[in-house]
């Protein structure tokens, strides 16, 4: 049955590419404006906006890298654990050597290595990506616990200050983000990954090697985890077993809020993570400022998230599943 679909106009808008690209950004702006008004401008003050951006940075960075994996139709649950373990080990490396450069190199190197291992388990040994990442999630946080025990490792405050003053957080994020935008939207990497996400059989038959591009995706995500780890270190000054426990969930939340399909494919954008992370922080901050209890905010976050996802998608006739 191939009756030409001429659905109602709202459906048409929802299906259009432009809408799905602009909607999340628009939403972020609207939320900011609403809360700006509700808090009599306190939310939109320069200091407050700076805070919002800084709070969103770690999630934004890690999910920007993660977007490459999600674009290929694979769900990664180990981004959070990778980032935290990376942060731990690079801090230990700093404490051993006292060199910031070593810390940076270890962070990015380790992020890449850990993610490469995940990728190879999947591409070379044929284990499903989701299972690999579930195992890695548990494995890496257990490793971190085994290494740290109950203690925390920290970076001396002067060093943190130096890094903050040097704008390392912003530079790190912006450089990574720009590279990602270029790789995702202007080279074959992003296009291939999206195509794999849309239909990996077809991609394979069009000469797009899933194994190769998935490996690239994991490596980029690994760099994201490494930079995210550094940002987390700079922000918190220390890492322990309970650092960023829900980072992976936050990243998924951010990506989806930012307009990306969890099934990846055509509707994948590298900036989703950034937009989504900012949206979550604005929502949090705004609600807190108008005096909502922190506990309730979590529930609101959940409701708002589900509502937004529901409203912005074309409701499938059947149940949502890759097969339809």
């Amino acid at each position: 049955m191939n009756e030409k679909k001429k659905a109602n106009p709202i459906r048409k808008i929802l299906e259009s590419r432009l809408f799905s690209q602009i909607m999340p950004v628009g939403l972020l702006v609207i939320l900011t404006v609403i809360f700006g008004i509700a808090t009599k401008g306190r939310l939109t003050s320069a200091a407050s906006l700076k805070i919002i951006v800084e709070q969103a940075l770690v999630v934004a960075t890690v999910s920007t890298g993660g977007a490459f994996i999600f674009a290929s139709g694979n769900v990664s649950l180990s981004l959070g654990a990778t980032t935290v373990l990376t942060a731990t080990l690079s801090l230990l490396a700093y404490n051993k050597t006292g060199s910031i450069a070593v810390m940076f190199i270890v962070a990015i190197g380790l992020g890449v290595i850990l993610m490469t291992v995940s990728a190879l388990l999947s591409t070379a040994l044929g284990v499903r990506v989701m299972y690999v990442t579930i195992v890695m999630m548990t494995l890496l946080s257990a490793l971190q616990q085994a290494i740290l025990g109950g203690s925390t490792v920290s970076l001396p405050y002067e060093v943190v200050q130096k890094l903050v003053k040097g704008g390392v957080m912003y530079i790190g994020f912006i450089v990574f983000f720009i590279v990602c935008v270029v790789l995702f939207h202007m080279t074959d990497i992003g296009r291939s990954l999206r195509f794999i996400g849309t239909n990996n059989l077809c991609a394979e038959q069009t000469g797009i090697s899933k194994a190769k591009y998935l490996l690239i995706a994991f490596i980029i995500a690994g760099v994201g985890c490494g930079i995210g780890a550094i940002l987390a270190i700079i922000r918190g000054g220390s890492v322990g077993t309970s650092t960023l426990p829900s980072l992976n969930m936050d990243c998924m939340l951010a990506l989806v809020l930012g307009g990306m399909s969890i099934f990846g494919g055509s509707k994948s954008y590298v900036y989703s993570g950034v937009v989504g992370a900012l949206t979550v922080v604005v929502l949090n901050q705004g609600l807190l400022m108008i005096g909502v209890d922190a506990t309730i905010i979590q529930a609101i976050r959940g409701i708002a998230f589900l509502t937004l996802v529901t409203v912005s998608q074309v409701r499938p006739k059947g149940l949502p599943a890759p097969e339809g």
């Binding site: 009756e3 030409k4 080279t187 074959d188 069009t206 000469g207 090697s209």
Partner: protein, 500 residues
């Protein structure tokens, strides 16, 4: 009494999808003891009307009576239980359960014993049904996953026949069946007629329709154009009714131009795990080489093996410069292209846009600075194909799944034409495409051939092979058993003889 003969009446039926009119004031009557054919292009409304009768959807306006009573089914199950069964185009069976469980899928209530399901009775009932239908190839307790696609399709037919339908609706089923499978289906249809029941048969295949239907109703754009009795059948007339414009009876190529001696692709003693065993072929520049055979002869694997998708265990596939083809990437790098038989699942990203699909072959071609892709070049790459192939779409940024079958196939061709492929391996490229688009496809093949490209055309339609190919290779048991030249002017029956 004539009234007793009437089993179903459709009266002034309308069906709208949003602003699209799928059916417009359709009325007809079905009588017992007949096989009715419903024919029309894609989107003509033939599937819509049959699915309304079978309870898959409801009409916007109009009535139906069934056995003299008003008929308004709310689900397929309801229709089935009242004696209207439908074999659907793409229903399928579930591999991890038994044949019996597949047959009674959705009807497990029938075997309820308290809170439980009586599995023994379920299996024995199913076996009884298979015996009745004379199916001996498998048992009711077999796991469905062990059976091949043919057999699974036969399970679907059996599943439908369990309900002893008074009206059997067969929607585009034969396209998925091999010759033997079709014979089984025709037998079931004939039996139905002999038992004074009714069949409604929907198919693209005009020959098949003319052979098996007592009456043919032609639909176009949701309107009944006319109904013909068997005596009035004439292919050109029917085609004309379907498309609403004069179509040349023969839209295949009529020339006998030869091809170059230059071999561009060689397969030597190719053996794959399941289907091919020492298969040999040579494809020449400017040649359309056809491959035909019974569906399990392995011909669909040929395409995959040549293109490096299916692993070649023994033997080799090489292009002109001697490069061994062992992956799609090397194939594409040597300007090969492959169109799969399963267009929607293998050749297209349905939820990606038209532009993304076409551009998927051109990441390297459209790069300008290292790996950076030039948006301008890419847009040109895509636009040219949409224009040249006249892909009907609201815009290149719309999803492919909004297109009709023919236009989808054009997108597939677009991506390969754009990549300037020299060797095209096409597996059933005109499958499920309506006549109009088909004609333009054939023209495209001919043009490509003339421009020196080599085409390997794997097809289940004998007419197509005869009409288009310079040479036809007939396959059996994974090997090429016969070569037929265009000059021989083969007929369908001679080809079938070779196949068997």
């Amino acid at each position: 009494m004539a009234d007793q003969q009437t089993i179903l009446e459709v009266i002034h039926m309308d069906k709208n999808f949003g602003v699209t009119v799928a059916l417009n004031d359709v009325s007809f009557t079905l009588e017992r003891g007949h096989v009715y054919g419903l024919i029309g292009e894609n989107g003509s409304g033939k599937s819509t009307v049959s699915s309304i009768i079978a309870g898959m959807q409801t009409a916007t306006k109009g009535d139906m009576t069934y056995k003299g009573q008003p008929w308004k089914p709310t689900s397929m199950l309801e229709a089935q239980e009242h004696g209207i069964g439908m074999i659907v185009q793409e229903a399928g069976t579930i591999p991890n359960i038994t044949v019996a469980e597949n047959i009674f899928l959705g009807h497990e209530k029938m075997f309820k014993k308290g809170p439980f399901i009586d599995r023994a009775k379920l299996t024995s009932d199913a076996q009884k049904l298979l015996d009745e239908l004379g199916i001996k190839e498998f048992k009711a307790s077999d796991r469905t996953g062990q059976l091949d696609m043919q057999m699974r399709k036969i399970i679907e037919i059996a599943k439908c026949m369990y309900w002893k339908p008074e009206i059997l609706i067969v929607d585009e089923t034969s396209t998925a069946l091999s010759l033997e499978g079709r014979q089984f289906l025709y037998k079931v249809m004939a039996k139905q007629r002999d038992e004074n029941k009714t069949v409604m048969f929907i198919s693209h295949d005009l020959d098949e329709m003319m052979e098996h239907c007592d009456k043919l109703t032609v639909l176009r754009d949701g309107v009944i154009i006319g109904t013909l009795d068997k005596s009035e059948y004439e292919p050109n007339r029917i085609r004309k009714m379907m498309v609403g414009r004069e179509l040349k009876g023969d839209y295949y190529r009529s020339d006998y131009e030869g091809y170059s001696d230059e071999v561009v692709l060689t397969a030597k003693d190719v053996t794959t795990l399941n289907d091919l065993l020492c298969m040999n072929l040579e494809l020449h520049r400017g040649e359309i080489l056809g491959i035909g055979g019974l569906s399990e002869c392995g011909m669909h694997t040929v395409g995959k093996a040549l293109f490096g998708i299916e692993k070649v265990l023994d033997g080799e596939v090489r292009v002109k410069d001697g490069t061994l083809i062992n992956s799609p990437r090397t194939a594409i790098d040597h300007r090969m292209a492959y169109v799969s038989k399963n267009r929607d699942t293998e050749s297209l990203g349905l939820s990606a846009t038209i532009a993304e699909n076409i551009a998927s072959t051109g990441y390297k071609i459209n790069a300008f600075f290292g790996n950076l892709i030039s948006f301008k070049k890419e847009a040109r790459y895509v636009d040219k194909q949409i224009e040249d192939l006249q892909i009907k779409c609201a815009g290149k940024n719309y999803m492919v799944n909004t297109l009709s079958g023919g236009n989808k196939q054009k997108v597939v061709f677009g991506k390969w034409v754009a990549s300037d492929a020299e060797i095209l391996v096409l597996d059933c490229p005109t499958r499920g495409i309506d006549v109009g688009v088909k004609a333009s496809m054939y023209k495209l093949f001919t043009d490509m051939k003339r421009s020196g490209k080599a085409i390997l055309l794997i097809s289940e339609e004998l007419q197509e092979l005869i009409g288009m190919c310079d040479r036809i290779l007939i396959m059996k048991d994974g090997q090429v058993t016969r070569e037929v030249m265009r000059a021989e002017n083969p007929t369908e029956s001679s080809l079938i003889d070779y196949m068997i």
